[in-house]
Amino acid sequence: MKRRKVIEQTAKTIFTICAAIAILAVASITFYLVAKGIPAAREVGIGKLLFTTSWRPTAEEPSYGIFFIILSSLVSTFASIIIGVPIGLCTAVFLSEIADRITRSVVSSAVELLAAIPSVIYGLIGMMVLSPLMYRLEKAIFAGNETHQFTGGANLLAAVIVLAIMILPTVISVSASSLQAVNDSLRYASLALGATKMQTIWKVVVPAAKSGLLTGVVLGVGRALGEAMAINMVAGGAVNIPLPFNSVRTLTTQIVSEMGYAEGLHRRVLFTVGLVLYIFIMIVNFILLKARRRELNE
């Protein structure tokens, strides 16, 4: 009897410790980023850091304005969501409502494969295929334009397209499973009332799966915001206003490309950039948590 109790207790402790590891990791990352990021932000001035636009960390009088960088991150994420979510949602509807078994298995394994492709491959394809196309487009659009700086095809638009494709698997798989989770009685009731299949999908099934779909979108936002490698290869990397044909730099690529050689305050400010990115991700996760909770309540 006593032995059993000991085993129970030990098992419980082991599980608790395992669970604590994740929390420990999050807590230490948070602590580290805050401890590293805040002093540099103070040194530069938080307002100056967040709301000025000139990034010249190695100048005689260095300036560390990351406003355009934050803006680029937000714009590229938002735009990729605008493009990626409708496609992802329609694919999810197709998978869960329309496709027959064979088509479904083909499409869903393609989606899974898309999710498994490393981001560097997306970047490479973007660089080799997308950039030359972009450059041709850029030359056609800005022909004779004196003020536009030609980027050779590495621009925000390329980044947005790559991101939109990269978030597809996340959006599709989460949305499809939440659509599938909708109770069949709703579908039958709708069909019995004389609604067509499409009416049933858009007016009954999709609204019923709303929270799950939102979760997919939010996860997509997280993915787009946090992507570094692919963006680094297609976005050009100069700090600019995020216009479609400008070469841009996002929060992630800022850290990736400059951490290697940065020293002193420059390096510390990159940690602050990391902190800013982290705060954005926290906000996204908070929204996710809310959405999930609502889903549970329903």
């Binding site: 604590a20 980027t151 990397g237």
Partner: protein, 310 residues
């Protein structure tokens, strides 16, 4: 029960945070301790060496009797050189361990000044305050920066002032330089890069450049310039190959002879700075510099595409 669990987790988190702080400090002090130890070892070895080998000290590099650790830190641009040199050096002197950290020129010279390394690597000439701090400049190699364009570009000579204007965004079309009517795509490296630093400084366009693309590797710049019609970029001279075209600056071709003669604008020294003259260093460091100026060392310098200073 729930509350209890939460409290437990909270306390765990806090402990973790505390441990985190503590261990960071500990690691730092442990590192310092190690470094000190290493230095001590080195000195001990040196003493032994001088005691046992006084008679043969003047002999031509008696291999294998050196042992200990030589530590270098500094310029990332010098990575290729340092890796090749230390590998070759350690083959000749199996008892010696050469450690190189690539922390950047400024950081390397700081480490030298604080005494944590034997040699500070710098891919620029030393600043006055660094010399005042006791650092001595030993130029071991010269690196040239080549300005590259795509191979189809008809322009093969750019005056320095025009080059600066291109990078400042004042000239935007190759037709202004006698080339085809093709827009110029200005490609460079990210801030903090040694090559960018050297390029901007040598061309006197520091922080005035308007880059269309900032890439974070030499290979990236090369590949982009090769693939983009109308692109211009800069890379180390030694990576220039058939895929791109290196242009002359002020009609001076980027060649070894021109760089040694000091005619080519975009060249920079690779410095291995020591605290005090080389002759005042321990036998290990002396051996290192002897090796660099030996034929074997010169072969290494050439093999990584650098130029041997005269």
């Amino acid at each position: 029960m729930k509350k209890k669990l939460l409290a437990l987790l909270m306390s765990l988190t806090m402990t973790a945070a505390l441990i985190g702080c503590g261990s960071a400090d500990q690691t730092a002090s442990a590192e310092t301790a190690e470094t000190t130890e290493a230095t001590e070892e080195t000195t001990e070895d040196t003493v032994e060496d001088t005691a046992s080998g006084e008679a043969e000290a003047t002999e031509e590099a008696p291999a294998a009797d050196l042992s200990g650790t030589i530590s270098l830190a500094g310029s990332t641009s010098m990575e290729k050189l340092c890796e090749a040199m230390s590998e070759s050096f350690m083959e000749t002197y199996p008892g010696v361990t050469v450690t190189v950290e690539y922390t950047g020129s400024g950081a390397g010279l700081e480490s030298l000044a604080s005494g944590s390394v034997d040699i500070g690597n710098s891919s620029r000439h030393l600043k006055d305050e660094e010399v005042a701090g006791g650092a001595v400049e030993n130029v071991v190699a010269i690196d040239g920066i080549a300005v590259i364009v795509d191979p189809a570009n008809s322009v093969s000579d750019i005056p320095a002032d025009k080059l600066a204007a291109i990078y400042k965004g004042e000239i935007t079309n190759w037709s202004d330089l006698g080339g085809n009517d093709e827009v110029i795509v200005v490609i460079g490296r990210e801030s903090g890069s040694g090559t960018r630093d050297a390029f901007e400084e040598l061309l006197e366009v520091k922080d005035a450049c308007k880059y269309a693309q900032e890439l974070d590797s030499t290979g990236g710049v090369k590949a982009k310039v090769a693939a983009t019609p109308g692109a211009i970029g800069y890379v180390s001279l030694d990576v220039v190959d058939e895929s791109i075209k290196a242009v002359a600056i002020d009609s001076v071709e980027p060649t070894e002879a021109n760089i040694i003669a000091g005619d080519y604008l975009l060249s920079r020294p690779f410095v291995m700075a020591t605290n005090g003259e080389i002759s005042a260093q321990n036998d290990l460091v002396k051996g290192w510099f002897d090796y660099i100026s030996s034929d074997a060392g010169k072969d290494v310098i050439k093999s990584v595409g650098l130029i041997i200073p005269q």
